[in-house]
């Protein structure tokens, strides 16, 4: 065998094996080549058979975590709206982490979809989009006032422009394993409780799962955490205020939680990592939307009944949370079918009850009149998953503890840049990893934040 590599027999063996592999490889390639011959590889989207619609509308949005929502949107809402308005609607879905890249590419090309959906307000693209005010007014005339959260997230008071329309937002509760916390006689009512419980939970093999990575879940969790301690990135006049004793205290506190009750994987997380951490039965607490509870329910994971959802734990400054994601539609100035896009968006927001229901209460309407809280609460209470009524708390979270990015100011271009560059998770991670003191890290981040705000102020956007 091995020692006979120079011998004729071995050589013959090797050739035989090569021959076999070559034939197998050639066969595989042949199958691939044959497949490419199918002519519709270049085909475009299918149109309604036997129907020649006058207008077109192209939409790009995320792949919703609730398959039923996409099913409803793609196969019920869009076709029905298209038929009614004589418009061919083409919807494309991409992974949520790729939306920013896609938006940048469409802006660079000055060409793209008529309606662009993102999971956060894209305030930095204000000059690239139309003023959506007329759409907002149209919706308000049908279902009542734009929710405060939506308005603060999509309206620029400086330029008096609506740079997007939010159709929905998603409350961001804390999701925790009741069985594990009960074992140690604790519950995550306050951040102090979390810190105290962290070492005990970690010792039992169930660490806390709050990320400090450059991804959206870490971003939202840590920004909300900051606010609970009185640390705010900006004030109500959109002036940067990050560098404060409250922020330093918050960073120090989170470092403490990390050291006592987390592990270093949190520095490399992606948006799904905290979910997977929970689904694997490891995490004892995460901050996430209800995807974190819906998935275990649908997969019948053994601890799915033990997953409780509560409002964000209270800090010294109170209980101040953020939305988990803010669904926003944007119409580019270069959109080819602006009128169709405007009408579609208005109709969607007006009829949002069906969307909220299809999303299994994941999407809350940004225009509350479209599906009032009382109705959502009733639907949540009817949810049969255990513990019964656990989703009822969502309306309380939405009404009392959900704020916009940049609270107490508005979501603006500078805030969008701070958000998109993940400066806050980096600020926390540097301290947790021992690369800087809390004071140094906050001070350094503040200097970057100041420059960002100065840039956008110069551009007249804040």
């Amino acid at each position: 065998m091995g020692q006979e590599t120079d011998g004729p027999v071995a050589s013959s063996d090797r050739l035989t094996r090569r021959e076999l592999l070559r034939k197998a490889g050639a066969g595989a390639v042949a199958i691939g080549v044959a497949g490419t011959a199918v002519p519709y590889s270049f085909a475009g989207p299918l149109r309604y058979k036997g129907r020649d619609l006058k207008g077109d509308l192209t939409i790009i949005q995320w792949v919703h975590f609730v398959p039923a929502y996409d099913e409803w949107f793609d196969k019920t809402w869009c076709p029905q709206w298209g038929q009614k308005n004589d418009v061919q609607v083409n919807v494309e879905h991409i992974n949520n982490t790729l939306l920013d890249t896609r938006a940048a590419a469409e802006v660079a090309a000055q060409s793209g979809h008529d309606l662009f959906f993102n999971l956060h307000p894209m305030a930095s693209y204000e000059d690239q989009v139309i003023n959506h005010a007329s759409i907002v007014h149209e919706i308000e005339s049908k279902v009542g006032k734009y929710g405060e959260l939506g308005r603060l997230s999509t309206y620029n008071p400086k330029t008096k422009k609506y740079f997007a329309v939010s159709d929905n937002y998603v409350p961001d509760p804390v999701v925790w394993r009741h069985d594990l916390w009960n074992d140690i006689g604790e519950s995550p009512a306050t951040w102090d409780h979390v810190r105290k419980a962290a070492p005990k939970l970690k010792a039992k093999g169930h660490p806390i799962g709050i990320g400090q990575s450059q991804e959206v879940d870490s971003n939202m969790a840590l920004m909300a955490f900051l606010m609970c301690f009185g640390g705010f990135i900006q004030d109500e006049h959109n002036r940067p205020t990050l560098y404060s004793k409250h922020t330093v205290e918050a960073v120090q506190f989170m470092t403490d939680i990390y050291k006592r009750g987390e592990d270093s994987t949190i520095f490399g997380w992606n948006p799904a990592s905290n979910n997977n951490y929970l689904y694997a039965g490891t995490a004892s607490l995460i901050l996430n939307a209800i995807s974190a509870t819906r998935t275990p329910e649908s997969l019948n994971l053994p601890f799915s009944d033990e997953l409780w959802i509560w409002p964000i734990p209270a800090g010294p400054h109170g209980r101040i949370g953020l939305e988990h994601v803010m669904g926003c539609y944007n119409i580019w100035k270069f959109s080819k079918n602006k009128e169709n896009a405007e009408k579609f968006l208005a109709d969607l927001c007006i009829n949002y009850k069906a969307a909220t229901t299809a999303s299994q209460l994941y999407n809350f309407p940004s225009f509350p009149g479209a599906f009032p809280f009382a109705g959502i609460r009733k639907a949540a209470a009817a949810d049969s998953h255990k513990p019964h009524g656990k989703y009822s708390i969502l309306t309380t979270i939405a009404q009392r503890y959900t704020h916009n990015i940049g609270y107490p100011g508005t979501t603006n271009a500078a805030m969008d840049e701070v958000f998109s560059k993940y400066l806050i998770p980096q600020m926390f991670a540097r301290v947790s990893q021992g690369k800087a003191t809390a004071n140094e890290s906050v001070r350094d981040t503040m200097s970057v934040v100041k420059n960002i705000y100065a840039k956008w102020r110069k551009r007249g956007k804040i």
Binding site: G2, F65, A280
Partner: protein, 276 residues
């Protein structure tokens, strides 16, 4: 243990750990692809589970997977052809350009390969959309991909052509061949390992490419495998791990077979310019 036995076992002692480490991801992919989704997260079911082909069924019946594979193959083959047509004569010319000019040009061309797509996708998206009008068409990828496959292929072939003695071409010319004839009849056949390397490398590079594909293609039916998989098999926070693993495993098997079949020539192609 006798010296002969030690001598016999020595290559295995080196090769087996490597094989285990390199083969493990494939084993893991295969195992995960056969798991029911709810058992993926269960640490007690790592090795003991109820195997199912549900993920393969989902892939084939509920996604455009086969079309993504076809698209990847089509783009890959088209780019391979374009790359060979441009890189072979270019590589030859640069190899025969004596002196500093040839070397400098060769290095300069190779340097363009090092510019990452993350820097180029924004300006290129304007070119693709506004000037070429190829948005959401596979042609956009076929046009753009050679921008990074050709430089590398030229550089690779250049090194390979340099190993071929000039005297062989001179002999062919004396025997009545034209310059092109000498190239086609003498140089290219000798360079087959290098050309095969370019083919395999280019094809692999293209079917793995992500940034341009996600930027220029948006409809599901026109996606390639690297874009279709994360887009259609990840729903927000929820990863369809069995489906993802199945989707990756399927194309990696024929690619591994092709690599294995041409392994010796592949190595010869890469090291062709290294030993003169």
């Amino acid at each position: 243990m006798s010296a002969a036995l030690r001598h016999k076992l020595f290559p295995y002692a080196i090769a087996v750990p490597f094989a285990v480490v390199l083969g493990f991801p494939f084993l893991w992919m295969a195992i995960t692809s056969l798991k029911p989704e709810y058992q993926v997260y269960d640490p007690t079911k790592v090795w003991h589970f109820h195997p199912t082909l549900a993920s393969y069924g989902f892939l084939l019946h509920h996604t455009d997977y086969l079309r993504w594979v076809r698209n990847s193959c089509l783009v890959g083959l088209a780019v391979v052809v374009i790359t060979l047509v441009v890189a072979m004569p270019a590589g030859y010319a640069l190899a025969r350009l004596a002196g500093r000019v040839g070397r400098t040009l060769g290095v300069a061309i190779f340097l363009t390969y090092l510019v990452p797509p993350t820097l180029l996708f924004l300006p290129l998206s304007r070119v693709v959309a506004q000037y070429l009008h190829l948005s959401d068409r596979l042609w956009s990828l076929i046009v753009v991909y050679p921008s990074f496959t050709i430089p590398f292929a030229i550089w690779l072939l250049m090194g390979f052509f340099k190993t071929i003695p000039q005297e062989l071409e001179d002999a062919a010319l004396i025997d009545g061949c034209s310059r092109i004839g000498a190239l086609v009849r003498i140089v290219f056949p000798i360079s087959l390992p290098g050309i095969l390397t370019v083919v395999i490398f280019t094809f692999s590079l293209v079917v793995n490419e992500f940034v341009y594909a996600i930027t220029f293609i948006s409809s599901s039916s026109n996606r390639t495998v690297p874009v279709g998989v994360p887009t259609d098999l990840i729903r927000g926070d929820l990863y369809n791990w069995p489906g993802i693993m199945a989707a990756i495993l399927i194309p990696s098997i024929p690619l591994a077979l092709v690599y294995n079949a041409f392994l010796n020539r592949f190595i010869a192609g890469f090291t062709g310019g290294a030993f003169r």
